[in-house]
């Protein structure tokens, strides 16, 4: 039985198609202004890529901030439940999922059956999220994909305030003008993100094994910095950014 999951995030839209517990395909695109169109467009594209007729998709579940704008979905489920289901699908041993997306950072605690036991989300502030890193990459004139590798060259991370994205950007600009090495600033940015997210997660009864999902999981600098704080290995699947969509497709099986 084939199912699909559509995850419309604040920056990117993700899609996944599953058949009997196997991932047939995934896709990622930018959300842009029209969340509704983004969902329909990616759905058409992934089905066309996989050569699947829409009639053969049993059910579709949508998630993410644009979840209610996907009119062809059979059900809209929040990203908390979807990331929980996706994480459990990828590795049933996982108990804590840290998801850092475009505007949200969240932690989810799973029970041994993959049900969500507890969760916490960032308050209304983008510090410590993917958008925060994007703003910093722009200020640094560095490709965000290179952030992780560059930060590994630093032995002395700069101190960056983690209170506010806008103020942190001015701090970064001021460090650049002082001639602070780029790797130190980037490492400092990762520390700031990790510090904020870690403090939030500590409110929960979070324990290993830990998995990180969402776009920021691709940044090895942030992952390493969080691992240091947890004193534990953090698993990052190759599907990290697609985890919400995969979880949605998993949940669609039960509809």
């Amino acid at each position: 039985m084939k199912t699909a999951g559509i995850d419309i995030g604040s920056i990117t839209t993700k899609a996944a198609v599953l058949e009997d517990g196997v991932i047939l395909g995934t896709m990622l695109s930018f959300t842009g202004y029209h969340a509704e169109q983004a969902g329909a467009k990616i759905y058409r594209a992934i089905l066309s890529d996989l050569g699947i007729d829409e009639q053969h998709i049993h059910k579709v579940v949508s998630t993410g901030y644009g979840r209610n704008s996907v009119d062809f979905a059979d059900k809209a489920v929040t990203e908390i439940i979807c990331h929980g289901a996706g994480g459990y699908f990828l590795n049933p041993a996982v108990r804590t999922i840290i998801d850092i997306g475009g505007q949200d950072s969240k932690a989810i605690i799973l029970d041994p059956n993959g049900k969500v036991n507890d969760f916490v989300m960032n308050d209304k502030c983008a510090a410590g999220t993917g958008r925060f890193l994007e703003v910093m990459a722009r200020a640094m004139e560095v490709n965000l994909d290179d952030f992780g590798a560059i930060s590994f060259k630093s032995s002395n991370p700069s101190k960056i305030s983690s209170i506010c994205t806008v103020f942190a950007e001015s701090e970064v600009i001021s460090l650049i003008s002082k001639g602070e090495p780029r790797e130190n600033i980037i490492a400092g940015i990762h520390e700031a993100v990790a510090s904020r997210v870690f403090a939030m997660i500590r409110r929960l009864d979070a324990g290993p094994p830990i998995m990180m999902t969402g776009g920021v999981a691709k940044n090895v600098g942030v992952v390493r910095s969080l691992e240091k704080r947890f004193d534990a290995k953090i698993e990052v699947s190759g599907y990290a950014q697609l985890n919400g969509a995969i979880g949605a497709a998993v949940l669609a099986l039960d509809l």
Partner: protein, 401 residues
């Protein structure tokens, strides 16, 4: 009926000056009964704040206060009230001018500066009733300290009103106040029924009388009527939420400008807010009141209210409510306006999860400043929380690890 009582109350307060009656502005948790004994009309800027919030006037007034120089971090009741005093307008055309201000700091410290500002603005006397914080119970010295202030308070009123305090009338007012508190608690307790005949959203509305008019017979009459109505609803199986499946507890003040939205949101998940820590605050310290020595014993009752006690005792109260009202989940409003209420919520959450395993959700807002309400973020949190409860993945008391 309730709207009529509140309208009459505010008309009476607004006409006080013409009739030669005195008006006192008083904090919501302040000892109001001595004012009733002295025929002073009590007016509550906080109740008015709720009216401002429910009328969606909070944002503009808060903005005005910020333009006057007050920080956006300050309580949104305080900002709205301070700003409202300087403009012609607000709900019911503004509050009647006070002849005196009575400030009891059992609810927070902000009220002291807020009332000092208003005392200077209106150039009227201010009485501060100082209630020491009860970290672990109340000490004997604290008892002596607050009881002495009751006497000072009475002397203050006697001087302003130029008449003696009638202690016999005090007994009668005390009886009515206590009766109103008992009835209010009985009304709130009708929600122990499944389905619940009312929700916290109804309680937020009916609360106005116990706040503003306790000590008068109007409140007793109305709550008697309301109690009968709720009992009838229980008898007929009429519920507040059409398909009640989940029973939740609300912590902290309401989000006044979003009552309808929140009510519909929870209702859509078949969830009823059957209890809250806020509306029951006006009847919770009844146990400290001595019927035969009302005026003196209210000193202790007003000192030991919910916001003036330690985190352990607060958690104990919530756990008691979880059991009493069969609560499936807790929604905590981290209210940036009300620091004493919001401070400690994470600790309380931990204690609850350890002892009962009840799922808890935290949402963030300002009770009266609609500019601070982020709809899509709060919507996602509530939806996620309800999905989690529906999944049935309840926490194991004592923690997972």
């Amino acid at each position: 009926m309730m709207r009529q009582i509140m309208t009459e109350y505010y008309i009476c307060a607004k006409q006080a000056g013409e009739k030669g009656d005195k008006v006192a502005w008083i904090t919501s948790g302040g000892p109001v009964e001595p004012l009733i004994v002295m025929d002073v009309i009590p007016v509550y800027p906080e109740n008015y704040g709720a009216m401002i919030g429910a009328s969606h006037m909070g944002g503009d007034l808060c903005e005005k206060a910020e333009a006057m120089g007050y920080s956006g971090d300050l309580c949104s009741y305080a900002r709205a009230d301070i700003a409202c005093s300087t403009v012609e307008g607000g709900p019911i055309g503004g509050l009647p001018r006070p002849d005196m201000l009575i400030c009891c700091n059992n609810i927070c410290s902000t009220v002291m500066k807020w009332y000092e500002i208003q005392a200077r603005y209106y150039n009227v006397p201010l009485f501060i009733f100082d209630t020491p914080f009860c970290h672990q119970g109340m000490t004997e010295q604290a008892g002596v300290y607050v009881r002495r202030q009751i006497q000072e308070y009475i002397t203050f009123l006697e001087q302003i009103c130029s008449k003696r305090f009638d202690y016999d009338r005090g007994i009668e007012v005390g009886r009515l106040s206590l009766e109103a508190q008992r009835l209010w608690q009985q009304v709130l307790d009708t929600t122990t029924n499944r389905p619940s005949p009312m929700s916290a959203f109804d309680a937020f509305f009916f609360l106005a009388l116990i706040v503003t008019l306790r000590g008068t017979d109007k409140v007793v009459d109305f709550y008697n009527f309301l109690l009968e109505e709720m009992k009838e609803r229980v008898g007929e199986g009429i519920s507040a939420v059409p398909k009640e499946r989940y029973r939740l507890l609300w912590d902290n003040l309401p989000v006044w400008y979003r009552l309808k939205w929140l009510s519909e949101k929870f209702s859509a998940h078949d969830a009823c807010l059957v209890a809250d820590t806020y509306t029951s605050a006006w009847s919770r310290s009844m146990k400290y009141i001595d019927d035969n020595n009302f005026i003196e014993s209210i000193a202790e009752a007003y000192t030991r209210i919910y916001l003036n006690i330690g985190v352990d005792e607060m958690a104990g109260i919530i756990i008691g409510m979880i059991d009493k009202y069969s609560v499936d989940g807790i929604v905590m409003h981290s209210n940036r306006s009300c620091k004493p209420y919001s401070f400690g919520q994470y600790d309380i959450m931990r204690i609850i999860q350890k002892k009962r395993g009840t799922p808890c959700l935290m949402i963030e807002s300002h009770m009266n400043d609609e500019r601070s309400f982020s709809e899509s973020q709060i919507s996602t949190r509530i939806d996620s929380f309800m999905e989690m409860i529906k999944q049935g993945g309840s926490l194991t008391p004592g923690g997972l690890y």
